[in-house]
């Protein structure tokens, strides 16, 4: 008799340890990308992940990492599917994930903007109250809303003069 719930829990325990290929200090669970682990048919593990941005190039690597980790842990059949809806939000990054980002010198996102009705145009530079992840100074300036990966903006601390990355709110 197949104990689905026990199998599911065991698979989840493995899947939740897989890390993001571009921000390896974060697990896919802490990033909010790991949406579901389920057991189908004769014990096939079905994992659902969601892209952070539509063009996220890391999805294939995430899938491969999940398949390998689960296979190594003894699960013979593993399938990874895409969950497009609901769309990923930076609000899904867990508290532990936020601490991991800060420990790695990245600035964690604030609350995602609430959208009611048409999105208003904003012609002024994005205002966020951030502190430098290195020296804790609040004297920071935005360099660019776009960074080395789709999910990050570029900042600079005007006290310690170091650049840093901020995970954007979406």
């Amino acid at each position: 008799m197949l104990d689905r719930e026990a199998l599911r829990e065991r698979a989840y325990a493995v899947a939740r340890t897989v890390t993001d290929p571009e921000m390896p200090m974060l697990t896919l669970e802490d990033l909010g990308v790991l949406r579901e682990v389920d057991v189908a048919g004769e014990g096939e593990v079905v994992v659902a992940i969601t892209p952070t941005y539509s063009g996220c190039p890391a999805m294939a690597t995430m899938r491969d990492d999940l398949v390998h980790r689960l296979t190594d842990a003894g699960f013979e059949e593993v399938r990874v599917k895409v969950a497009l809806s609901p769309a990923w939000s930076s609000d899904w990054i867990t508290e532990r994930g936020r601490r991991a980002l800060a420990d790695a010198g990245l600035s964690a996102p604030g609350p995602a903007p609430r959208r009611d009705g048409p999105i208003t145009l904003d012609l002024l530079p994005t205002r966020r109250s951030l502190t430098c992840p290195r020296c804790r100074s609040a004297a920071v300036e935005l360099t660019s809303e776009f960074g080395a990966t789709a999910c990050k903006a570029l900042y600079r601390c005007t006290d310690c003069l170091e650049p840093f990355e901020h995970v954007k709110e979406i």
Partner: protein
Amino acid sequence: MTNPTDPAHAPSHPAPDPNDAHGSIFDGLLGSDSSQWAFGTDFEDPLAGVDTTIPDGVDPGDLAAYCLMLADDALVASHRLSEWCSRAPDLEEDIALANVALDLLGQARLLLARAAAADATVVPALPEGSPVPPEDALAFFREAGDFRNVRLTEVPNGDFAHTIARLLVLSCARLALFERLATSRDSVLAAVAAKGVKELAYHRDYAGRWFLTLAQGTDESRGRLLAALDEIWPLHAELFATHPVERAVADAGVGVDPATTAAEVDVVLEQVFAMSGVERPGRAPLAGVHGRTGRDGLHTEALSRLLAEMQVVARAHPSGRW
């Protein structure tokens, strides 16, 4: 005659031999697992596990054609933006334009896959055994006449002001459209749109801020921006002209009639123009040919040249594995 064991005549960096018993110098790069190689792997199906059932009362051919329209706008605009790579005014803008291009490419990929899933007959036939997935076949193996993007997306980049003016108009229109499309009866379109809205809001703010900066910058930047806006304006109206396919899918509750977004987009553009001290251009729309425009597959010569570059490698190796 040279002595092969003489170090003076041995090549300093011998070419790696994959059959060498000791392996090649590149082996370490892959670790023990070739699928860790980030550039060589991909999701076979970007809609893996997504429900692609066609909602009741929708013609599959219309749905596929509509998805191609939305996909081709994004694909062609993405390619034009990616042409800025290493050529932008500074490194931050280079990265920003590439980010915007990547978002649009992601949207295009999902929408092309959705088109193929709705009606497989839109996908070009490839040689037996070709590993090219349907969305790639649609991107790389269709002729210009099969592309359904609006002509605004395909015209050459021009200078940075030209790219900013075009991106502003495109992202205003696409954002307004996607906000409405997020309630589509087609679950894939609704999901792609809901996700795209978040990305397009960033794109529109980026383009709007640069528009304002250039307009209120130097005489040179303002002059270039005004010239660029004047140049692209004849292609603006096509974004809001309703094609019969758009009307059909809008009536079926899966698509959006772009004409219904025109007033809202006008208000947003007017805001940018007013803040920038720029007059709304008065140039008349570029005519179609016998009423046919981009949505019908009638394009400017620029699209053929763009596709020639974008498609050449894929077409040279229709059975290639990447």
